[in-house]
Symmetry: C2
Subunit: 459 residues, 2 copies
């Protein structure tokens, strides 16, 4: 019996059938939405409480056994893969909304609550949790990967929307970071240390998130541009005009063409912005009119605007269906998704270079972006298991990252590091990477938390 088997036996003795060695269960916990091959844990433990997590961590820490926290498995850079085996701790059973404080604009949730579940729970409060990475991710996972999404330009990312945490440290100690006060200046910002740590420092067992009022009115707009530069310049001018746009999404020509085919639309195949405005009825109309005027200065055309929900959905249809529409360009294909984030003044050149690279490759790709943040995504269409295609996508994606870093940007705006972007950490952070490793060693001295990823020494 190996060391790990002893540990699993100790866990099974405590938790019974909630500890699984089944191949199916292990497989579903060693694979996410990324292109990476599955890497299975040796066992999966389905936790139901903070106390469960604390007891399991104390055992694994004693035995020096790797622990991989698992939410609902929607990460896309291998954050929940288990390259060194060990125990996956499934937190989806910690799924209670513990409190909603409507007057204080916050909610306290367990980490397995998904964002859609939280928003369903908030239905009658007039409040919403706006961070939206696309997938119905768990709030704990979103905190751990510092997730964001389409409306981060207005409402911020998980960095801004997590107020407080309960965390189990690797040795099983339970701590609380932050409070429900909206700001504080009393000590190191441990909350922000765990947000984005990708489960390498401890396990989040409770999250206090900020809520936002649902605006009285929402309007949507779509506008087509002669060039990408014109679209980006429109966004910059819009933000310089202090127009508080809630979403500004970009789709490139490939994405528009795919949407026309998939959703039976007749959009002009050109760089296109999808906008959303939040405010009062008069306010959203005024914002849209201002943006229409700015867009016209940069050659924008076919500006369409809607406030009726059904009409708004129609306007944004191409954006909503963009992922399946793109995959439909190549039946049977999967998406190799990468993202990067740059200062917005460098966005045009970065996207154009990514486009040129893709056009020169045998792989098709579409580009979209949360353009108000300078965050863009390149999705390469690869056949599952086609090693040469994945290699080519990796080559192209690496060039996306290298250019972003050379532009003063970051290797990922919202997908995170996982296993997929580990190799870029040195180039992005330089000597600060040493300090990250010191931090990791201080928080997780035995190195059991999600090893082989963020904070680990290269092997």
């Amino acid at each position: 019996m190996t060391g790990i088997e002893t540990t699993i036996d100790r866990l099974a003795a405590l938790f019974g059938e909630r500890v699984s060695r089944s191949q199916d269960v292990r497989r579903s916990h060693g694979d996410d939405l990324s292109y990476l091959p599955a890497m299975l844990p040796d066992a999966v433990f389905f936790a139901r409480s903070t106390e469960d997590v604390a007891r399991a961590l104390a055992i694994c820490n004693d035995d020096g056994v790797p622990v991989v926290p698992f939410g609902v498995g929607t990460s896309i850079e291998g954050q929940i893969h288990a390259p060194r085996g060990g125990v996956s701790i499934d937190l989806s059973g910690l799924d209670a909304v513990l409190a909603v404080h409507a007057e204080d604009f916050d909610a306290v949730v367990q980490p397995g609550v998904t964002r859609e579940k939280l928003n369903a729970h908030l239905r009658d409060t007039g409040l919403t949790f706006p961070v939206d990475p696309g997938a119905d991710a768990s709030i704990g996972g979103m905190a751990s990967t510092r997730a964001s999404g389409t409306n981060a330009v207005r409402y911020g990312t998980m960095r801004e929307n997590v107020l407080a945490l309960e965390v189990v440290l690797p040795d099983g100690e339970v701590i609380r970071t932050g409070t429900r006060a909206r700001k504080s200046s009393t000590g190191y910002d441990l909350t922000r240390v765990f947000v984005g740590a990708e489960g390498t420092l401890g396990i989040i067992t409770e999250v206090t998130v900020r809520l936002h009022p649902i605006p009285a009115a929402i309007s949507s707009a779509v506008c087509t541009f002669p060039t990408l530069a014109a679209a980006v310049d429109t966004v910059i001018a819009t933000m310089q005009s202090a127009i508080p746009v809630a979403r500004i999404e970009f789709l490139d020509e490939v994405a528009i063409e795919a949407a026309n085919n998939y959703s039976h639309l007749a959009l002009e195949v050109a760089p296109t912005l999808f906008l959303e405005f939040h405010g009062t009825p008069a306010g959203v109309a005024e914002q849209a009119a201002q943006v229409e005027e700015i867009a016209a200065e940069f050659g924008g055309r076919h500006f369409r605007f809607a406030t009726d929900p059904e009409e708004r959905n129609r306007l944004w249809r191409a954006r909503y269906d963009s992922n399946p529409a793109t995959r439909a360009l190549r039946p049977g294909s999967a998406t190799f998704a990468t993202d990067a984030c740059v200062p917005i003044s460098r966005l045009t050149e970065n996207i154009l270079a990514a486009r040129a690279d893709a056009d020169a490759s045998f792989l098709r790709a579409k580009i979209n972006g949360h353009v108000g943040d300078g965050n863009f995504h390149v999705s390469y269409l690869v056949m599952p298991g086609a090693a040469d295609e994945i290699r080519e996508a990796e080559r192209l994606a690496a060039r996306v990252v290298e250019r972003a870093l050379a532009s003063g940007g970051t290797a990922s705006g919202e997908h995170g590091v996982g296993l997929g972007k580990l190799r870029f950490l040195e180039a992005e952070h330089g000597p600060a990477l040493g300090l990250m490793r010191s931090l990791k060693a201080a928080f997780d001295p035995r190195g059991i938390m999600n090893p082989g990823k963020l904070g680990s020494h290269p092997t």
Copy 2:
């Protein structure tokens, strides 16, 4: 010759007259705007570059000599006091605005640049750096204390407005944290670790801050309420209505009475809100009208509204002059200032209890607050050097903090820990304080950075 003298000689050999042992210089660097008695460093080094800071830190680290970073000395909890002596490193000479990227809404500054200097520099860009703690603090100091102020409810605190840092670690190594990209998910958020660390982990030598567009229109309003609860309920309802108020300041009856006397006003002596709206001309008028309606529901009266700058200044006069006006209630007195921050639903009870405590005391006090954040300030009027009065203020301030903590809040919303609030860290953070000490030990193994404060073990 003691150890510290040897270190100062080493520094003087390198930096000549920029190392001072003068009593006057030491005194001006061992005292801030707090009630605390001065605690002098043994010497002051006037740095002019990152390289200066790195060389000085390497020497002090070698010798195990305490280092206290100093900006412009406007802190109010003893952050720049030198309880263990050592070398104060004055960063006011690092005062260059290194770059303004108007399209990217950011600026790169040295830490000694003050916020007013930065805003003067930005004059022709249409952009502003909005974080405003009152004093003309240095940007480095503001980052280090996680400063905020009146418009944090709209624009955030230094936590949200620092994008990237250059930091010299205790051993002299220079690192960069973050990038100019507006968001990132690639690694531990070291930027947020140094923001609010109060110079206990390293010295910030460069700060990249977010800028915001100056709104097309600004309007101001003032409204009087029958009770504090009515004022706070108006704020909650305003925020629930998604009205993006830029500032919501509260003054209590004592503050209003003081303002009437000092500024020759005739305001009704009652809880009063001072509001500011940013947006388009139509937008700010609409926001004000909405708030007027909400305020009326809660018994608000004397609602006045202005867009003309001179008229706006007149409306806000009582708020602007509040600190000198309050001191004028007791000629010769100084302000013993404390702050706390609570979930807004608990604000009324906390302020009323602080008021009752003050009314039962022999000290006068006024209360004001950045009420949208749940952050409030109590200013006790004490005679400089009157030990019994300072003891009484400390007793009252401790009760403010204890109630805030019992309400799920924090011991300070924006003043920070310094020496004044060290004793509350255990009560606020519990076991997380141990993790903060581990973090401190990992970043500053020899314990030279601002010792005796945040992150130190109790002595």
